[in-house]
Amino acid sequence: MSEKELVRFKIDGLEVEAERGSMLLPVALDYGFEIPHLCHHEAVSPYGACRLCLVEVTKNGRTRMTTSCTYPVEDVIEVSTDTDQIRRARRLLLELLLARSSRAELIQRVAKEAGVTETRFKAVDDDCILCGLCERVCREVVEANAISFVNRGDRKEVAPPFWDPMACIACGACVYICPTDCIKMEEKGDERTIVRWKRTLKMQKCKSCGKPFAPLFQLNWIIDKASLPKDFYDVCPVCKQMG
């Protein structure tokens, strides 16, 4: 067994320790510090898109603001999670987010918590905050690579290539991870639709109980990837467990 290497540093005056290589944000959250964050999820790699998780890090007498989700912990640093400067920067970010996604409940809540209820920016009205969690989970966890960021500037969005969702297996991982709930999934009869990507797939019916339980395309994809026997998913996991 290899001994995990620990680093020690301070957050708001409190001595903390963490494994080398971990990012600051999850460590701080574990210690109970409250840092708003919208594009971080433990299942996928950090990306630093929303910039809400700003903290001030002092190292060798120099202080700078940085996103904590992308900052690897180091010995002897001192972290401040709540300064005037951070609050000011965060309020500006939230005003921008509020302008973009004023209808998203999560954004309203996070903004309110930071004391932001109004925005001076022009409303865009898109629930997608471009956090990129969906495309990361699809790429890194599901490995379907069905969607990605496309275009740039004010036309930037997440989309399947050519808006053709041919690689989407309708697994629903993106639906689950989207913080603003703007990727919807519908199941009608034996069909499942991922609404945002316009993907509809037929579901496999369980040979035992008869209930549709997962998209056929997804099951074949898993069978292919994991070299499972062809009949591996003939019965649903529930029936399988009951044997």
Binding site: E135, S148, F162, M166, A167
Partner: protein
């Protein structure tokens, strides 16, 4: 693009996906745009997700996913050019070519684009045809320039 032609490009780059950008540039240079079929074939041959290729293809301004014309006509609509009448020039061109910015004429002769300030505001309003700057533009002058009838006196950038 013919598969044999794509093959040649790929061979040039040893089928390495870190050369993806250069490969796309080569395709763009030959076809004047990135045809969907070619990108799909490319994804297959390099064993790359199409989503990754598409992401690059839509990120860089140098790439186009729709066919481009032989001539690129760009109207600067930056602030300086705007107050000096860029909108009128654009209107005239849209009417004459019967396309909107970002589109290409059906005969693939012209593609119309707009751009946000090229740092030559002194020449405003600015029209660029195939990377050649034409300053102090007027709608009528733009048309004759297109038809190659008039030599622009304020030419050069």
């Amino acid at each position: 693009m013919e598969n044999t032609q794509l093959e040649k490009i790929l061979k040039n780059y040893q089928y390495q996906d870190f050369n993806l950008l250069a490969i796309l540039q080569d395709i763009q240079a030959i076809e004047n745009y990135l045809p969907r079929g070619t990108l799909e074939e490319l994804a297959k041959r390099l064993d790359l997700p199409l989503a990754r290729i598409y992401k690059l293809a839509t990120f860089y301004r140098a790439f186009s996913l729709t066919p481009r014309g032989r001539h690129l006509v760009t109207v600067c609509t930056g602030t300086a050019c705007h107050v000096r009448g860029a909108a009128l020039i654009l209107d005239t061109l849209e009417r004459e070519l019967e396309i909107k910015p970002g589109e290409t004429t059906p005969d693939r002769e012209y593609t119309l684009e707009t751009v946000n300030c090229l740092g030559s505001c002194a020449l405003a309003p600015l029209l660029i045809i195939d990377s050649k700057y034409h300053g102090k533009m007027l709608g009528t002058k733009a048309l004759s320039l297109l038809k190659g009838e008039e030599k622009d006196v304020s030419e050069g950038s």
